[in-house]
């Protein structure tokens, strides 16, 4: 994902799809196309209790991006400063090579414009020091945006503190 990560906390996701709608509004995505997609498993009954899980799947902004390599007119570029992969709309000729080349078919087809479009992680917002629209709109904080190191720090802090809380009484502190 370039130099960033979008992390999904399945405990907090309520499958409301605000992320997808906010993405469509901000990026003017036509009906039928979806740039960032929330994938929901469940609810289903496991031992009589219903359970569910969720994972947000935007563009991964691959290091060696299939879509970029496949584009015959070099309309797909990678930002040097943070590795975000994006389409220069004015150069796109609508051949759909990128959609076919991507193993997850992440680039979307904008039928009205006759061009491909894809998640650029809202790089205009990132340049304003804001989160992508999908993450910002999430009502529960189930989506988190950051650089991988920061996310790792945070997760280990939470885990570590939980463990310390549990072991405290054993050592009589």
């Amino acid at each position: 994902m370039g130099d960033y990560l979008i992390y999904t906390d399945p405990e907090k996701c309520v499958a409301c799809h605000s992320c997808e709608v906010a993405c469509k509004v901000k990026n003017r995505v036509p009906i039928g196309a979806t740039l960032g997609k929330i994938v929901i498993m469940g609810p289903k009954l496991i031992n009589g209790q219903p359970r569910m899980s969720a994972l947000f799947v935007p563009c991964f902004h691959c290091e060696d991006a299939w879509c970029m390599n496949a584009c015959p007119v070099d309309a797909i570029r990678k930002r040097s400063e943070d590795g975000l992969v994006h389409i220069l709309r004015e150069l796109c000729v609508g051949c759909k090579s990128c959609i076919l080349a991507c193993p997850w078919h992440v680039p979307q087809w904008d039928a009205g414009a006759g061009k491909a479009m894809k998640c650029d992680m809202c790089m205009d917002r990132i340049d304003e020091n804001r989160e992508p629209a999908c993450v910002a709109a999430c009502p529960t904080g189930a989506l988190q945006f950051g650089d991988p190191a920061e996310l790792s720090h945070k997760s280990r802090e939470i885990y570590g503190l939980k463990l310390l809380g549990r072991t405290r009484s054993r050592y009589g502190h």
């Binding site: 907090k12 309520v14 499958a15 409301c16 799809h17 605000s18 997808e20 709608v21 906010a22 469509k24 509004v25 901000k26 009906i31 039928g32 469940g42 609810p43 289903k44 009954l45 009589g48 209790q49 219903p50 359970r51 569910m52 629209a133 910002a136 709109a137 999430c138 009502p139 529960t140 904080g141």
Partner: protein, 697 residues
């Protein structure tokens, strides 16, 4: 140049505080107001999708007068002067024969409701009702019978709760953002949630414990739980009950036959689980919420079901406790000299005939709240002309055709009216049948009267226009004033602009309009306001206490504790239950481009064993039929619904051709639901209808 405006959403009635980013008079994005921590910067999908309506060519784009038969889709576009003159002249003609009481005004409760009520008082008609009556009439009645407060005057302190019990209350799909986040935070801190529902919802999946209850037996579950709490153990809050609760002895005697084993036979939930829940809940008291709900499990005995929930809270001492149910605090509780001034508090001429069309607060429904009325009586009153002929309906942002049970009965009533005036954003069912449409500006395009946000930390909130109206539309406060002037009642509407309204409301509060500019609201208290549990609880019942034996009920001849009546579902039928998803608000949003894309139609949830016996496979087209209507939709075959129930989402099956995306998608629950009521509380029993299901040929 980009800017951000802080306003209030109106994609549903929750009215979340939002931040709208604007550039070139257009909306770029909608997020939660960052100054309100519990929003976590987010919005629900409906809030996010509001932007999709701004340019939608399927909206009502100007005032319209019908030019063909009702519902034909033939309209004449007119200017505001012509539309308002036409409406007022027709009203005057009809008033001269039938009086102004022949006008019924219904609306979705909104920030202009004070002005709607002013309009009705000014023209002298007692016949106002709100959508609340359909959602929660019996909850309101139950709350007033026990606490003296309406359901709107109490709320749940989710953030500090330790045990929460939800009876179909679908917190994680109906999505009040602040409440949902408060509950999620409480759960992270260890709160336990129990969800009771015949159907697995997202809320069920998020809960710590889920019980698939037999449909319609939630009251039996509660009686079994009360038995375990007070008969088998001293699990209740003895000192709170002796200090604040009246009628405990009568409850103690009444509950005698309703053991957990009895409840197990009724509900299908094991007695040992009921006892375990009683124990755990008791250990967490008073930080306990038994949520009194909105819709869900609405049956003819609904008032007693809702009362049983409130009784459980009273037994846990959780009413006005941290982490329990609290009484909302207003401006004066926060130290202000006065609250927002109301237009409807002016002195009006005496209403000539006080008899209401629905008998609410009068002979027919003495317990129900006349502030909201009993909307389900509307079609019957029109058709029977009892207590007198009704000739005019003003439907303002509310759609009785798809909201009231028995669509065909409501349709006959609407067809009988001489004048239907609709104020809407879209072509809804009632709007499509109207004689005149007075289109309201979308909430992003208008400013509205200020909102008193009562709560633990009271605040005053403001909706302000973010962009200019795209089409020839107006705010409702403007429309009502124009009509009132034409009906010789303009003197009760002392304003020209929204600033005039805000200044009128804020008189003597010491708050200025500019105080709202920075955050969109003015906070009145930094700390939560709780009353003293020893001696400071102010219940509005005649005794000043929590009345388990209710003065309100008993003085009107209703028993506080009638014997439980068993509910059976015939083996070849199902109980139709209805509900919501995150993508839609009631019957209003099915045609929004983004929300329509998310959930375009409803399907029929049916238990897989029952489906197999009927030869129905997942995805098959099935016919669902009751005594009043039928429809065809796709089956969703699943183990996640009780065998006695089938479920469909509320609000689909629209028949108005102007709304092309939602036209004839799915089935309207109102088409199938029978007109059955809780005759005491005033709610329609929307989950009571028996239906048969078969594979379509």
């Amino acid at each position: 140049m980009k800017k951000t405006v802080y306003t209030l959403c109106f994609m549903c009635s929750v009215r979340c505080p939002i931040a709208v980013e604007i550039e070139n008079d257009d909306v770029i994005s909608i997020e939660g107001n960052p100054f309100v921590a519990a929003m976590k910067g987010g919005v629900c999908p409906k809030g996010a999708a509001a932007a999709g309506w701004i340019h939608d060519p399927q909206r009502v784009q100007s005032p319209m007068i019908r030019s063909g038969p009702r519902g034909s889709g033939q309209w004449k576009k007119v200017g505001w002067t012509e539309a308002l003159d036409y409406t007022a002249n027709r009203c005057k003609e009809i008033f001269s024969e039938h009086g102004s009481k022949s006008l019924v005004f219904c609306e979705r409760v909104n920030l202009t409701t004070d002005i709607s009520k002013t309009f009705m008082k000014a023209i002298g008609s007692p016949n106002y009702f709100s959508h609340d009556t359909v959602c929660k009439g019996s909850i309101n009645s139950a709350c007033r019978s026990i606490l003296g407060y309406t359901d709107g005057q109490i709320n749940a302190d989710w953030a500090n709760a330790k045990q929460v019990v939800l009876y179909g209350r679908n917190v994680f799909e109906s999505i009040e953002v602040k409440a949902m986040n408060a509950l999620l935070d409480a759960m992270s801190a260890g709160a336990k949630v129990t969800c009771i529902d015949p159907r697995v919802t997202i809320t069920a999946a998020k809960s710590n414990r889920y019980f698939m209850i037999r449909p319609g037996t939630d009251l039996a579950f509660n009686y079994g739980l009360i038995y375990a709490l007070i008969k088998e153990h001293l699990y209740y809050d003895v000192s709170y009950v002796s200090r604040w609760v009246e009628g405990f002895d009568q409850l103690f005697r009444f509950i005698n036959p309703y053991t957990p084993e009895w409840a197990e036979a009724e509900t299908g939930i094991p007695a040992k689980d009921i006892r375990q829940l009683a124990k755990e809940i008791s250990e967490a008291k008073p930080a306990v919420i038994f949520h009194y709900g909105y819709r869900g499990s609405s049956h003819p005995n609904e008032i007693h079901f809702r009362r049983s929930i409130l009784i459980l809270n009273a037994l846990m001492g959780s009413i006005e406790s941290k982490g329990g149910v609290f009484i909302k605090k207003g401006a004066t509780d926060a130290g202000l000299k006065t609250g927002l001034k109301k237009f409807s508090d002016q002195k009006f001429p005496e209403t000539p005939d006080k008899r209401r069309f629905d008998g609410c607060g009068q002979e027919l429904f003495p317990v129900a709240d006349p502030a909201h009325g009993v909307g389900a009586m509307f079609p019957k009153a029109v058709l029977s002309e009892t207590p007198y002929p009704l000739k005019i309906l003003f439907a303002f942002r509310y759609d009785p055709l798809y909201s009231l049970a028995d669509y065909h009965q409501t349709l006959r009533a609407l067809e009988k009216l001489q004048l239907i005036v609709s104020c809407d954003i879209n072509f809804g069912g009632t709007t499509s049948l109207a004689d005149v449409i007075l289109p309201e500006s979308f909430f992003l395009e208008r400013s509205d009267p200020l909102q008193m946000g009562a709560g633990l930390k009271p605040a005053i909130n403001r909706r302000i226009n973010c962009i200019k109206p795209r089409f020839d539309t107006q705010p409702m406060w403007w429309i009502l004033r124009q009509l009132a002037e034409r009906l010789d009642a303009g003197q009760y509407f002392p304003y020209d602009t929204i600033e005039d309204i805000w200044n009128y409301q804020l008189a003597d509060t010491g708050i200025a309009i500019s105080d709202f500019d920075k955050k969109g609201f003015v906070s009145l208290s930094d700390k939560p306001i709780y009353w003293n549990r020893e001696n400071g609880l102010k219940f509005k019942t005649p005794s000043g206490k929590i009345e388990l034996v209710s003065s309100l009920l008993e003085t009107h001849g209703f028993a506080s504790f009638p014997p439980y009546e068993n509910l059976e579902t015939p083996a070849d039928q199902f109980r139709l239950i209805v509900g919501r998803c995150a993508a839609h608000t009631n019957v209003m949003t099915q045609n929004n481009p983004y929300l329509n894309e998310l959930v375009p139609e409803n399907v029929l949830w049916i238990n897989k064993e029952r489906a197999a016996a009927l030869g129905i496979q997942n995805g098959d087209l099935v016919e669902i039929a009751s005594s009043v209507g039928k429809g065809q939709l796709k089956a969703f075959v699943t183990d996640m619904i009780h065998p006695e129930a089938v479920f469909m989402l509320h609000g689909f099956g629209h028949q108005e051709p102007e709304s092309r995306r939602s036209y004839q998608k799915g089935v309207a629950d109102a088409m199938i639901q029978e007109d059955i009521m809780d005759r005491i509380g005033g709610s329609p029993a929307l989950d009571h209808t028996l239906v048969s299901v078969r594979k379509s040929s």
